[in-house]
Subunit: 259 residues, 3 copies
């Protein structure tokens, strides 16, 4: 790719299946929401309305209309699904998603304690009417640490077999649980096992809420790695990381350069 | 409370005396200010114009007009009072507050070194013309650590007796002094002593500048705990914490749910 | 300076050569960009378009027009210069800066490994057509630690002799490299040596991306210290620090006050 005469890594363009960026909306006010989409639209594939924010947001309908007009997809955070499930109201959740015209849905068990096999049944069910993102990993860092890399591989495979479009690996907004340890370091052992098991990283979306994790995943899997939980402040700076335009990934992609 | 079929904890509605949320304005630009109030008005009771920001903000009058139109109250940060006091210009501060039509005022000694008894005299004085929030606790974490839980109880009682409407417990914007230790952990011993002394938590407002502290206080005192120093980015996410719509407080309020 | 009857330290007014504040634009959406400039214009001297963000920002031209109308100067981050240099395309960078009407340019070697002497030659070259900010210090904290205070002094002198208008000391957006150690503490030994060498701090601009560093530099060099890498959220709060209107610098400037 060539910008201003600079030789930069190739980026797949929207609409794309790989190299996607998912921003997390934690309750962004409406004009700032529009401002961000309008200014960085080509670098944003999805908005995730984080956890239960959507049901107390007065401007949800207007936000969704604006996304439609600007070719950005959306879905509701998995914690909202879990809240409905915890109150045995999955049908109400189904209706909620349908009412807002969501084509995508996230099915997770990051907070509630149900076996992955049961989550997989919900994936199967929802796959009939939605494109399903599933999520693997716990939000609690202590429980997360009890999950071995073998468990991760098994759960990811189970979810994909049940019909998940892609599997999101948990890291929370803080980047300190799920695929990350309490200190915010990526657990390389898990990613290594995922690859050894022959799972394509094209099917995985990594939650990467901060620059350190974004850098790690881009170095690991290239400029077109799928990333989620990107703060609303970050779409442009993430894109510069993908393109080697920031110090952190400056030397990741190019060879034969001035050194 | 019922939203989208979900059973959620009861929240007192505005105008309310308990369960209030105070946002801190650290110099937010005018359109973002309006955008936030317009998008999350029902979840915001007060704006505190942080420390001395108000006197160098060109759009202060317009901000205040917008608050009036949207039923959000305001007051100026206690540090501004202390600055006027340190220059022996308390009358000028009184006039400043009157000129902007403030119904509320914050009286504190978080930075200047005056005994609580002297602060209480100012509370008494200002109570004649304003509704007074007083603040207990030091901004300096070393000095904060010298305050025993007994001192906290005594100062809170002194302030309430002097006429304070509610007492705010210091934590700063960083959450690492006052009622918190340097590591950002809430000092449970102090809160325990406050309760033992028979002070109603309805009379206390806890500064809770981050999710960790917000979660701690909600777990401690329920969805209608009074919270201050909430960042401008957080009114919606705080409300989801109050309602158990985020992982951190998911299981705090409901029983008999799916587990 | 007198505001609302308060005696405050003297601040040099815009257009000014000392006491300048440089905000870093990390990809701020267009309306928020305008909102910030409009609300805090008197406290902002320059916008630095951080690292390579400028070349993937669709609204760059409009941003620059808005700056022109509001008497705020700008330049592109040094990492962009280094990217062009690493691909042996310095002429293209020159043309890029000219095309956008930039009067200023930043020349750095924070990422690429070239000796300071070579950087100084570029300073000399660009000085013919631009006002040059040079930067000293490495973005990598390990490499930064190998730089002795003597090296800092030598590089700063070399840059000034080559024609640099002012020299920026590296700290990154995180405040954990360059003039700061990994823990975010300012390296006082370096600043001490700079002063001993007779270099006026008026010629230095300190990167100070957070309150802790801003406070340190203001305490060190007064309210009119030159500061860069100020987050877009901070121009008002920084100005209150400069003026002693926040707890952190409350007692820095005034004597004979109430204590």
């Amino acid at each position: 790719m060539n910008i201003e005469g600079l030789h930069l890594p190739e980026r797949i363009c929207k609409p794309r299946k790989h190299g996607i960026t998912i921003l997390i909306d934690n309750g962004v006010p409406f004009n700032l929401f529009k401002d961000t989409i309008a200014s960085a639209g080509p670098y944003i594939d999805f908005i995730k309305f984080g956890w239960g924010t959507s049901i107390i947001t007065s401007c949800l309908e207007q936000k969704i209309s604006f996304l439609d007009e600007n070719n950005v997809d959306f879905f509701f955070g998995g914690t909202l699904f879990e809240k409905f499930l915890s109150q045995k109201k999955v049908d109400e959740y189904y209706n909620f998603c349908k009412r807002y015209g969501s084509a995508f849905v996230e099915i997770s068990n990051g907070t509630i304690d149900i076996p992955n096999r049961e989550k997989a049944r919900f994936i199967e069910e929802f796959s009939k009417d939605f494109i399903v993102f599933s999520e693997v990993g716990h939000k609690d860092s202590v429980i997360s640490n009890t999950l071995h890399s073998e468990d991760w591989v098994q759960f990811i495979q189970e979810d994909l077999e049940a019909g998940a479009y892609k599997v999101i690996t948990e890291a929370r907004e803080s980047g300190t649980s799920g695929l990350c340890d309490e200190k915010g370091e990526m657990r390389f052992d898990i990613v290594g096992r995922i690859r050894e098991a022959g799972i394509s990283l094209a099917n995985i979306i990594f939650e990467a809420p901060n620059k350190k994790l974004q850098t790690s995943f881009i170095k690991l899997a290239g400029p077109n790695v799928n990333l989620a939980n990107i703060p609303f402040t970050d779409p442009i700076s993430l894109e510069t990381l993908r393109l080697g335009l920031r110090s952190d990934t400056f030397y990741t992609f190019h060879e034969g350069e001035y050194e």
